[in-house]
Point group: D2
Chain length 340, copies 4
């Protein structure tokens, strides 16, 4: 049960509510987000929810049976749209394109990339500065200094910056330079990081774990939401299966299921999801038809020279072609959805 | 190495060829399909393939390194089109729609279905008469008698019949009534059945196994092809993963990978692939964009009364809407591919 | 509900029973095995089972809620022991060792192997004569002629023969030479084959599918049992997972779970289960402690020269050592179980 | 290539070595652990390693081709033993038993548990004080205050304390109270945490990820080792597969493979690995025979009242019985290994 509190509810009024929940054996958690105050009440006896709704402190009350509460579409039925400023948004009736290199390498690379994105009217650039790598001896990123020029160069052209944060204690240092914090697949259940991102007033893109279920992804989003941050984007990026013909198995089934279960926007990462550049175009277009709100793509001027993930990066020419196809498909989808 | 023989090659000419292969330590398999004669030569020493090409018996020779030979697109680069008569075909530049119930139930059901398909201009009807069921106590199909009326009713309206064959010894009895033999996921590596279907002069739709790799699917197709039957359609139908939000995990990644590896057409089964009727429409449209040559769908007049798989069947109204969307998307795809 | 009928129940007495079940909306299946007659009744309304038990036709009645009925330990609580003659048995308080080559190659190989097994007091020899191979161009076995000498040579020394049957129509030809029919992982849900083996009066060893669940394995066993053959041995042989350090992931968890759910004996195949000869010894001993009734091992005089599966075969010397360890562990287990 | 440096090597001597590596195009990483100084050199041209070995700075040099270097048994062939003080150790020829509740609940619980362990001569107690939970509304642990009494009560009786650390910034606060830091499955690739634990001079028990490969586990251990901490214990705790009869699929195959690949000790967690208390005893004994150096078990005075994981916890009586069986099996294993 989600009980939304009135902004001006007094302590006394809130206490009456809590006493009532207590008397009915509910456990409850107080949640204060940047947009509102809630009590999440779990367990408890049979109750007529109108007896809650009539209390002074209460603005609204919803019975939600799922274990994921605040991210559920049963509570909030309208889709959440993430506003990023300058008319850039993710979610609902616009298809978002996020592109950039796997790793930020140097200023020249960022500048060329940003110019290319700007020409292509792509509004959001991805690029890792802290890289999670299986081996301690692999390249681990240019770090915070790289983030600074990445951010400065992009913002000059009104391009938004998304980059991965790997630990709670880096959030503060990264904060001024980042428009969207990305949580990688390996940190999808790093609950301390999720808790910390709940305190941040910038959007979070949360990737599904390598063997993460849909429900676990929603639980992880619930951590961020109940921590205080309602602006969450979910990302399908391929799961681990027995098949070895591709690096991961991009699971587009997740898209319609998430669309049904949650009000949060869903983007797809076909680059990591497949690990093979030849598959990116068909899987991007397939993502669009499955209902995704956007895709995140790895591109590189010279994929064969990339410090990481070259095999799954498009070059500029390929991106340009795909961008045109995405636009045509986007128009077509509007048509199609308009007719039915 | 695939060596295509001249139709009129003499025994003596063939023997020279075999001696040469022998002397170079090749193992070889003679393959006679309904369309040609081949020697598949594996292993062997370094050889200049022109020395083979120059022999009298040889029409053509191709070096193919893959373990799948005859199904490889490295050998036959043009896509295979399966002609079913009356201008019905599967593969290449036409998107095929196969629809029908999971199980054939009775004459009335088949007649209503066939009329519906005819109205919808859907040319191929699916329907199981021998049902593979996990439990021996579940409904196991109407059998050969059901197939007879299923076939008769469909053929009256020029609708083609596809149905599953579960054992080699049933092929003969089913033969007069079937237009496409379907091999189910559980029989994907039933090599005796595959061998037997190699002797048949009707097309075979081969489903990927529940935990079957792409390579295993191609090997299984190679069984049918090398057994003599070149008319094979591959079918992605969902794999088994850890995720429990859907019955299977439809793996659309298989589509672009198969398109690259083989000349055979590829269709997708979103009904079994997901097990949830709400997911069928988005996953069907996504299949189209991933490059599939067709889809196979389960539909039922009253899904909630179906003897099997009701949860994953569309009703007639839903099928009608989806059919319109498929047609619009098909037109759009022609446009899109025409421009690039 | 499992209703065991009296051997001498009259038609009329049986009819009364069926009418009663009918009136309570049960669906029922008549099962006649080599050991008894049963009615398996599913669905149905609430019923006091004593009202069934009191009927003349009924010898015994058990309420079993599982979907697997006759193989369930809720019905038959004592472990099933498979008698093979000459004091050779599988199941309950004896640990069985089945060993032999992956493929029968020739008479000399069989004779050497049989002599070795005889020296080692190993009573059951495995050996494939029809080989299920992913590729149609791989070695596919010596066939029925090979089975004849395999059988003749083994029986001379009172060694029992187990070999894989891949299709129902081969059963008859194989019958005189086989002591246990083996169903391979790829045929674990080949329901026609399972049905056919239900009619046979020799034991069947049924392997778990590559991605087969425990419940599916039990359902497949239920096919054989309800087809008429109660003498079934289950075999864990490794499942398909994401891990690539071993060929399959031998799943010893299956052993205690099967021991709890079914009365049938359970053996383990560490050779296929791991695909690596170094792992066979530790996984064999681990199998014993997990509660297995036996193991099936691949051995070869010269593993590096084996026509198939050399990488997972022990040589004679390794088998000899392992045999001693198995015997010691077997003694220890008797001690251990005796004390608690 | 692992180059162990002399403790007293001069800067100049080291520089000569680095210049040489540079000239041969090696990338290298300097590693200083609590026990020694190393250069890990990767890539590079063909080189006669004696030319390295002859340099003044070098104590020893090993060619290791694996991507995991310092944890490899190709470099350090003798098994690593983790000394915990008071004659408590993990690894090599002693079988270790770690037991305790999933979650620390209160002082009374810890005191009763500790007394029980002391009676049972179990030297190491597990107990979570920070709990990683899928849902933000679940119990998340008693925190650092709980750790203080947990540690104090255990140390009174010379029982060592192992508990999970979920974030780098908690290490310092936990340090005085912990004997072994545990890294949970969800943090198996939390590289910041692994880096931070490399700086700590207390042992680390590292769990395999839910869908972590053997190689990824070794890479994660390499992070800790190359960060400076050589005292690492690996833990198999079940992987995620399609099977739903158990919570996870305990993968005992990992034990012999890890024993071959690494010198680090390997323990098994059958409680999380299976999630079912009935399976713990057989899987514990099976672990022993597979070659494990120890097991970690969840026990609780009243499993049905545990705040978490009751379904997979043994009660005291069950633990007592299992402890006796472990001792008997341990004796038997010494016998067995003594004979061969």
């Amino acid at each position: 049960m989600i009980i939304q509190l009135k902004e001006n509810a007094s302590y006394k009024e809130c206490d009456s509510l809590k006493e009532m929940l207590d008397s009915k054996s509910f456990r409850f958690t107080e949640v204060k987000t940047q947009l509102g105050k809630y009590l999440i009440a779990l367990g408890g006896n049979e109750i007529d929810i109108r007896s809650i709704g009539n209390l002074r402190a209460v603005r609204d009350v919803h019975a939600v049976n799922d274990k994921q509460q605040l991210v559920s579409s049963k509570w909030k039925t309208s889709p959440t749209i993430i506003q990023l400023g300058n008319d850039v948004q993710i979610g609902h009736e616009s298809f978002s394109l996020i592109a950039g290199p796997c790793s930020v390498e140097d200023k020249v690379q960022v500048e060329e990339m940003r110019n290319f994105l700007s020409d292509q009217q792509i509004d959001i650039m991805r690029g890792g500065v802290f890289k999670p790598r299986s081996s301690p001896y692999a390249f681990r990123g240019v770090g915070i200094e790289g983030l600074k020029y990445f951010s400065a160069l992009c913002h000059e052209k009104n391009i938004k910056v998304i980059t991965e944060v790997m630990e709670a204690e880096k959030i503060e240092a990264m904060y001024p330079y980042v428009d969207i914090f990305q949580v990688g697949a390996r940190n999808s259940q790093n609950f301390n990081l999720l808790d910390a991102l709940g305190k941040v007033d910038k959007p979070v893109l949360l990737k599904r774990g390598l063997s993460g279920t849909i429900n676990e992804l929603l639980y992880s989003a619930e951590y961020i939401f109940s921590g205080g941050n309602e602006r969450i984007i979910l990302c399908e990026r391929g799961i681990r299966t027995f098949e070895t013909s591709y690096r991961n198995t991009l699971d587009l089934n997740a898209v319609p299921v998430l669309r049904e279960k949650t009000h949060l926007p869903v983007v797809v990462d076909p680059s990591h999801g497949t690990g093979k550049k030849e598959m990116i175009e068909p899987m991007t277009l397939a993502s669009m038809m499955s209902g995704a709100d956007g895709v995140m793509l790895e591109i590189h001027k010279n994929p064969e020279k990339a410090v990481s993930d070259g095999a799954q990066s498009l070059n500029f020419k390929q991106m340009e072609t795909l961008n045109q196809k995405i636009k045509m498909t986007s128009e077509f989808l509007k048509d199609l959805n308009g007719k039915f």
